[in-house]
């Protein structure tokens, strides 16, 4: 099975190890993984700020980057959600681009979604005799509808104690430019999220989006917390290799 990795700009620039883990996991299950070097970003930063024309320029580059791919898999519910939820609207004015966008939508998956729904892998053979909690990304869970897949993968990690995160469904306060534009409100939100993480006192905070993790981890690191914030791909790879 040929799979193209849609790395996302955030993972590409700041969290390459998440991409590495995703590639290793996919290859382990027989995927022939390539990395189309043309790719940059899904366009979400501009789109969510109202700069739709600019978002379209960037998204168009993505259409080209993944034109020849069979499957496109991304370690982000948010970026995958952008493609699934908004690319149709974004290219609605151009029937040729719209057809290409629809092809991209149909073959694009978030990593845990791809593992569980396409590869039918729910147990990666990981073992971790520690504690973890899970933060569902808003875009992954609500925009894309990927709710159960990451939890199913975590439940099958042997010896792992999965503790529910209080108010897990509340946004961490990232929201892209929101974090800078309305920084004090975003700051209060991330503080409340980290208060909730601290209240369960776990070894790992797992999530499927580095946007959320960058935000939550930034506040956790400020507090000097021992809990390690980690992307699901990295967690699954680390404890199964």
């Amino acid at each position: 099975m040929k799979v193209s990795l849609f790395i996302t700009c955030l993972v590409d620039q700041f969290y390459p190890s998440v991409g590495v883990s995703a590639v290793r996991l996919l290859r382990r299950y027989g995927c022939d993984v390539d990395f189309p070097a043309r790719q940059t970003c899904c366009g979400q930063p501009a789109f969510n700020s109202g700069y739709v024309a600019q978002a379209r320029d960037v998204a168009r580059n993505q259409l080209e980057a993944f034109e020849d791919s069979d499957y496109v898999v991304s370690p982000s519910g948010s970026c995958t959600g952008m493609v699934h939820h908004y690319y149709h609207d974004l290219f609605a004015g151009d029937p040729v681009l719209l057809a290409r966008a629809e092809r991209l939508v149909a073959k694009t998956f978030e990593l845990s979604q791809f593992l569980v729904d396409v590869l039918k892998i729910t147990d990666v053979g990981a073992r971790c005799p520690q504690t973890a909690t899970f933060h569902p990304s808003c875009h992954g869970s609500r925009l894309l509808g990927v709710r159960e897949q990451p939890l199913e993968l975590l439940r099958n990690v042997k010896d792992l104690t999965l503790i529910p995160l209080p108010k897990s469904q509340d946004c961490c306060g990232f929201g892209g430019t929101f974090a800078v534009k309305m920084s004090d409100i975003s700051g209060s939100m991330v503080q409340e999220k980290v208060d909730n993480v601290a209240s369960v006192g776990v070894d790992y905070l797992v999530s499927t989006d580095m946007g959320c993790i960058m935000n939550i981890a930034g506040q956790m690191r400020r507090r000097g917390m021992k809990t390690e914030p980690i992307h699901l791909a990295e967690f699954l790879w680390r404890f199964s290799s």
Partner: protein, 494 residues
Amino acid sequence: MAHSTTKSKFIDRAAIAQGDDFLVNAVKFTTDRLRNRKSDSSTAFGNWEEWRERGRAIRAHTIAHLDYYLDQFAQNAASRGAYVHFANDTAEAQKIVLEIARKNKAKVVAKSKSMVSEEVHINHVLEDEGLECLETDLGEWIVQLAHETPSHIIIPAIHKTRGQIQVLFEKEGGEKLTDDTKTLAGFARRALRRKFELADIGMTGCNFGIAQTGSVVTFSNEGNARMVTTLPKTHIVMMGMERVIPNWDDLEVMTNLLPRSATGQKITVYVSALSGPRREDEIDGPEETHIIILDNGRSEQLGDPEFQDVLNCIRCGACLNVCPVYRQVGGHSYGSVYPGPIGAVITPLLQQDKKQWGELAYASTLCGACFEACPVKIPLHDMLVHLRRRYVEQNYTPLPEKLAFKGYAAAFSNAGAYKVAMKTGRWMQLKVLGNAVPESEMAKVTPVHGWTKYRTLPENGGKSFRDIWSSIAAEEVESPRTNETDGSENDFGA
């Protein structure tokens, strides 16, 4: 606070709210309670997603044929003896109310909760005319005594603590009270009862207008709406033009959705259906009923594919209770009559000054909790994005932001330019801003401060994924495993 805050910015009003611990704690306490109750009651009810879809379908159908149902509603209400008035805007609605008050030589108006009456600032208009305006909903009365406006569409005084309410009541009644619910509610009951009898006019909102019979249906918990609609000689209903539904079967669906979504109740204590004024053989009810149907920008949304659905709203407030932004800043931060996600959408749509109110669309992380909570499935998160697009198209965004996104489009629509821009960015972070845990002095004076004030920057290893891809691509492939086959032999990275 009524309409004096309108020239300030959301972010400044929010900063004031965030500095008020009482307010933030009160808002968090009550919204938590409301959303937990909603979750429990909708789960217990069962098939919630199907009920939501039914609710959405009814509302969408009604709004798509609003001219027809509104006309039917008005004709049927008139045939039952109600006077039906159409008001295009705030000024017209105010004029109609004043004329009714003058004709009846009214001195006291007793009101039950009505957001539309807030929208047209009716209290101020009546008070300027020398009338006494008495809010009889407990929450509304509290904010009236505090000379404030509601900060939540269902729980007007959500931002007040019991202690603060005790102080307000003691001042009003000149008696010593305690801060327990029973004492405070008891005081309100005694004080308000005396005043119902004085009212010449009773004013209510309308949760649903039933087109089939021209009836006005209200949902309430305190019984004040019944007092207001039966004791005074004249009853004025203020309703938004979108408030109608076709028939009584549709009301059943709404009766299942509204109280559960608003407060988690299976049903409110009172559901009243009023069909015109008192008839000859009836012993109570008003002699005159006036129904004022307000447009005020609503009809502009009809036919707009992006925003028509916002008229489906049944004003339950569920989106406020789950909104992580509302939770931190409360309702007054929005500066508008309608706060929270629904307020952030309808305020820029209904208000004329799009530049001033358009900023509310940015008071969201686009997390989608509002859509998920909405009993009629309004895609508020998508609408917020559409509003932002319009704000950009109107050229209202600041120049540095415009330039930043122009730069983004140039750098990110081409992998070569992207590589250079990102490499420079990572270098800047490492060399200029630093990778340290405490915020660097340099970061404090750059736009990055908004981030670094609360968080460290992402750990930057100096290399991107694409820089290391060729070595990852050359790695040997592992064979798959599961816990059933060989998990026990793993090295656990101890």
